[in-house]
């Protein structure tokens, strides 16, 4: 009965590849997010969707494209992966501005 689940937990891939990370929440929340945590542990917002509509799009390379097929799912597709994309990516969800619940993270390593 995981609240926010991400797959995969680990992802190792070569430079130039395209990969996707999936996120699902079973909390009935209306807003979902992608955050990136770099090697220094800083968490930074990337995207936010509210009821399938993109509401936050921070300064992120357009190689990153989020997709929300419905309120419970938010996926992240990354094209032409670069070494600097290596990080831990977290999905989160909130409801009406309440506290955010985070997934377990996806550790992406680009080699």
């Amino acid at each position: 009965d995981t609240a926010v689940s991400q797959t995969p937990k680990y992802l190792v891939t070569q430079m130039g590849n395209d990969k996707s990370i999936k996120c699902e929440q079973n909390l009935g929340h209306d807003t979902m997010y992608w955050y990136k945590q770099d090697s220094k542990k800083f968490l930074k917002i990337m995207f936010s969707y509210n009821n399938k509509e993109l509401i936050i799009n921070e300064t992120v390379p357009n190689r990153f494209s989020p997709k929300s097929p419905d309120k419970a799912h938010l996926n992240l597709h990354i094209n032409s992966l670069e070494l600097g994309d290596s990080a831990v990516y977290f999905c989160a969800s909130t409801h009406r501005g309440s506290e955010a619940f985070f997934g377990q993270g996806t550790r992406l390593t680009v080699v």
């Binding site: 542990k41 501005g97 377990q104």
Partner: protein, 110 residues
């Protein structure tokens, strides 16, 4: 732009040695200050939300307080299981996002 600075970056405590973590912030129209705990290899776990200066919240050995410029997370008589990274974040009036500080890594030795 909202900004959050946490200090110290790391804190080593003996079991039972109380201490405080600091979170300084600048935000336009505070809509909430949040404390999270993050264990290695896991996502942040929600601890507290504070909304206005003077507010305090407690949970077991943790107590969070808020002023107009900073928040403190007090750890009273910590145990080894309190070892984690503690993250502070703010939500401002400008948008529906959390701005995080860099965290404080706490290690409690038995």
């Amino acid at each position: 732009e909202d900004q959050v600075t946490q200090s110290p970056e790391a804190l080593r405590l003996q079991e039972g040695e109380s201490s405080s973590l600091n979170c300084s912030y600048t935000v336009s129209g505070l809509r909430g200050l949040f404390w999270y705990r993050q264990d290695p290899g896991k996502g942040p776990e929600f601890l507290f939300t504070l909304y206005s200066a003077g507010e305090e919240k407690e949970k077991e050995r943790l107590k969070a307080t808020l002023t107009k410029k900073e928040s403190f997370l007090h750890i009273t008589a910590p145990k080894p299981e309190d070892s984690a990274t503690y993250l502070c974040a703010v939500k401002g009036a400008a948008g529906n996002k959390l701005t995080f500080g860099g965290g404080t890594r706490v290690l409690v030795k038995p």
